[in-house]
């Protein structure tokens, strides 16, 4: 198979999955007595209907892109970074702290510093399971989950103690400085337009991750180790180092999600009572994109649209928003079970065969 044709057949499955998921969702609406066209119409108007809707959709998409990239980088090295959630939390904490503590710095310095603090904190948090995995072979999932809880409770302690805004008894940090805030570039239209330059940072990050994985030696090592650690070792690679590096990058991306959330949306650290679920949504985003960084831009957008639109769908068309949960689950299921359902999605084989035709390489 050539690269080109791999790309096409790679995209065929997710697209078919999305289509099937949406169709089944429509059927569900129909048998529960709703008009699927009205339902999907409401969904689309909820996410695209007005400038503000679209802005809010992007606000939701923004952290999903980072989280998806984070999961994907780790996955490429054969690791499952279920700890993105915790890494996002510490990223938010660090950015909030640097954002208010160093008020007075010029923007050119303060902005990158605040972003960097979030990345560093995320990387640091990921380095614990990364190190344990590389050094002792301890499975990263268990440690990542523990690190999630440590992050959650640590943040709770900090925001009700050392990091708490001294002017209030409520559990949040002081506001970050103006110079540490990302630009809400549509705020000229109205102050409710929260979309900010974070979305461009996310898009840029996707291309950087792509470049890293496919154009650099460390990316090559990460992918080699993820596919076949034994062969990588035999070829002379330091597989532990490659895994640890992937985990660090993964953590930095998750931390970036937290930083951008603080710098563009919240402007402070707000106490978290339960996991937001970005890290876990990131798993779905990465899965549907088959861990392709550029694909993640698309799948994060899709999930953002579905999420945002499901609420208006319930309000306007009376379709329970859980319907969209089912659609999302179906999409994930179909992509994940590609092998399983191959013969089952009508025409999928034919689509793939079309892309693969004449490219049989077994000589």
């Amino acid at each position: 198979m050539t690269k080109n044709n791999k790309w096409w057949s790679g995209i065929a499955v997710p697209l078919a999955a999305i289509l099937v998921g949406l169709v089944i969702g429509g059927v569900l609406m129909f048998i529960t007595g709703n008009n699927p066209f009205a339902g999907y119409g409401a969904l689309l108007s909820g996410s695209f209907g007005s400038g503000i809707d679209f802005s809010e959709t992007l606000v939701y998409v923004n952290p999903l892109i980072f989280a998806g990239l984070s999961i994907a980088v780790a996955y490429r090295a054969g690791l499952f970074n279920i700890g993105a959630e915790g890494q996002i939390i510490v990223g938010m904490l660090a950015s909030a702290f640097v954002g208010y503590q160093f008020a007075g710095l010029p923007r050119l310095l303060h902005l990158p510093l605040t972003l960097g603090a979030g990345m560093l904190a995320g990387a640091l948090w990921a380095s614990v399971p990364g190190y344990l995995k590389a050094k002792f072979g301890v499975h990263e999932v268990v440690n990542s989950i523990m690190m999630n809880y440590i992050a959650l409770h640590l943040s709770h302690y900090l925001v009700t103690g050392p990091l708490q805004d001294p002017n209030t008894t409520l559990p949040y940090s002081p506001d970050i400085a103006q110079n540490a805030r990302l630009w809400r570039f549509l705020s000229g239209i109205g102050s409710e337009y929260r979309v900010n330059t974070g979305i461009f940072i996310a898009i840029l990050a996707a291309f950087v991750v792509y470049w890293l994985l496919y154009k650099t030696t460390i990316g090559y090592e990460i992918r080699a180790v993820g596919f076949n650690a034994d062969a990588s070792r035999y070829a002379g690679m330091n597989t532990s180092r490659a895994m640890a590096t992937a985990m660090l990058i993964s953590g930095a991306l998750a931390g970036l999600a937290g930083a951008v959330q603080v710098m563009g949306i919240q402007y402070k650290f707000l106490d978290i009572f339960a996991f937001e679920g970005w890290g876990f949504d990131g798993i779905a985003v990465a899965l549907v994109a088959k861990n392709n960084p550029i694909g993640i831009l698309g799948s994060a957008f899709l999930f953002g649209v579905l999420h945002r639109g499901s609420q208006t769908m319930q309000a306007l068309a009376g379709v329970p928003k859980e319907t969209i949960g089912i659609v999302q689950a179906l999409i994930i299921f179909i992509v994940a079970a590609e092998g399983l359902v191959k013969g089952w999605i009508p025409g999928l084989d034919k689509i793939k065969a079309l892309f693969n035709r004449g490219k049989e390489a077994d000589v």
Partner: protein, 520 residues
């Protein structure tokens, strides 16, 4: 053994089977006579397994008919085949490792007491009866995961017999066996045919085929090339039919012109994964322009020796020296940079990243340095150019360098590894089972390349379980037994018998004594 008038127990007519992009069987005719061993011979991917899976009901033919004992039959699933007396032992065994032999054997047909409870005693009796009847000795209570591959195969054969097989299909049964086990299998096969069973034997090893079969049918790219009786053919003809051109079965070579000693191992001690001694004081040396063959039954320390040399396993004591430089316990990359290359025994696990393209695999050793990268950023133009040149030079059959390694045939995968390693201008080549599972065309290729490397004054260390390969290539032969080198003999003095005895642990001096005694 088989008279031409003897009646057919099986006839497959005009079988065609298409998979997306490939015709695996094209209008194939195949017959089996009662009591014969009939080999289906063909290169990897020729369509042998497909034809047999159709016979066994695992695949449905697109066209064609199957006659069993002269009657046309539909075989839609393995149960149909079994009820017609057709049994199959697959290339990959289908046993449950945690179960005992007898549990595996009666799985699905367990004798029951009161219709519910497994009657273990009856099951054991049943198994013992059948194993006695066919002379297949086996311990019914052993757990499958604790018995040798040869024994597992015996369990598979017994399983088919227990289910009443009269026609037995053995798909590449020798691929996983040691030479001794192959001998035992052949004895069993002869016993079975004497008792009236008919056997379809699949292989691409010509010597075996000549030894065991009554008839041979050759299949190439899904088409039948011809059927011959073994008595009227020879390995060269079979090779030509199989590959479609003349093949050098034993690569011709000039006598070695060895130079100075290049590589030396002194008193090497190494432990295996369970920290038990795997090598107990191995010493050897290789000169430039020489192939030292390492013979031995699998599991006598060959893997550990190859790994210790290539930096994949730590030595607990001893010394490895190349060109006067101590390379003991260097990392595998440092060993590689000292000009030692490695063709690993397990090419899927250790030799290739199957999900990588050919180009990516070609630089698996060298990606981290110029000209393939500036240490940080890869230069894909240069990488792809290198891959194209190696594909050309090593005759890798592929549309282009972007093809995934997983979609290449075994022979072409091995060519990728050989190309990558030999392109490094090595001083020492460690080749472990370099032709395992390859067909004759690819074997010829790999052997030629190793001889060329020798003639270019490289030192070559060849690990092989196939005595034929050792005898064809090596200039001197070291035999390993239980982590030691039992003896080292020159090629001219080596005979199969002598090596066989050494492989069983009898040291060199004793073998000459035994050989001498034999002449009396």
């Amino acid at each position: 053994m088989v008279s031409p008038h003897e009646k057919l127990v099986l006839e497959m007519r005009g079988i065609t089977k298409r998979f997306p992009g490939v015709v695996a069987n094209a209008d194939v005719d195949f017959t089996l006579k009662k009591g014969e061993i009939h080999t289906l011979l063909g290169e990897n991917g020729a369509g042998k397994s497909t034809l047999m899976k159709i016979l066994y009901g695992l695949y449905q033919a697109d066209e064609g008919e199957i006659y069993v004992h002269g009657e046309k039959r539909e075989i839609n699933e393995p149960n149909d085949a079994l009820s017609l007396g057709i049994g199959m032992v697959h290339q990959h065994f289908m046993l449950i490792p945690q179960f005992s032999v007898v549990e595996n054997l009666v799985l699905g047909t367990e004798p029951k007491r009161g219709g519910v409870f497994l009657d273990m005693a009856a099951a054991v009796r049943q198994v013992e009866d059948v194993s006695r009847e066919y002379g297949l000795a086996i311990d019914p209570h052993a757990k499958v995961m604790n018995i040798s591959v040869g024994m597992q195969q015996r369990v598979e054969i017994l399983k088919a017999l227990l289910r009443g097989a009269e026609i037995l299909v053995l798909d590449e049964p020798t691929a996983v066996l040691t030479p001794q086990e192959v001998g035992e299998l052949f004895t069993i096969m002869r016993n079975l045919t004497e008792m009236g069973k008919s056997i379809i034997f699949i292989s691409h090893k010509l010597k075996e085929v000549m030894e065991i079969s009554d008839r041979v049918t050759v299949i190439r790219r899904g088409r039948i090339i011809g059927s011959v009786t073994t008595a009227e053919t020879n390995v060269n003809d079979l090779a030509r039919m199989m590959v479609g051109r003349d093949v050098e079965l034993v690569v011709s070579k000039e006598p070695a012109k060895p130079g100075p000693e290049m590589f030396r191992i002194t008193d090497l001690h190494v432990q295996d994964d369970r920290h038990l001694p795997a090598l107990s004081g191995v010493s050897l040396s290789v000169r430039a322009g020489e192939i030292l063959g390492i013979a031995g039954v699998d599991g006598n320390g060959q893997n550990e020796l190859a790994e210790a040399i290539t930096g994949m396993r730590k030595a607990t004591s001893g010394q490895i020296v190349l060109n006067g430089k101590d390379i003991t316990n260097l990392s595998s990359r440092r060993v590689f940079e000292s000009k030692v290359v490695h063709i690993p025994a397990d090419r899927h696990r250790h030799g290739l990243v199957l999900e990588f393209s050919i180009a990516e695999n070609m630089v698996l050793r060298t990606y981290y340095a110029p000209p393939f990268s500036n240490k940080t950023v890869l230069d894909w133009e240069v990488i792809k150019q290198e891959a194209r040149e190696l594909i050309e030079e090593y005759d890798v059959r592929t549309p282009n360098e972007d093809v995934l390694a997983s979609s290449l045939s075994g022979g072409n995968q091995q060519k990728v590894i050989v190309a990558r390693e030999l392109a490094q201008e090595p001083e020492l080549i460690v080749a472990a089972q370099p032709t395992r599972g390859l067909d004759v065309g690819a074997i010829e290729f790999v052997h030629t390349r190793l001889i060329e490397a020798r003639d270019a004054q490289k030192a070559v260390l060849l690990f092989s379980l196939e005595l034929d390969e050792i005898l064809a290539l090596a200039d001197r032969i070291a035999v390993m037994y239980e982590g030691r080198i039992v003896g080292i003999v020159d090629r001219e003095e080596a005979t199969e018998e002598k090596l066989g005895l050494m492989m069983a642990g009898v040291s060199d001096d004793r073998t000459s004594a035994v050989a001498g005694g034999g002449e009396l």
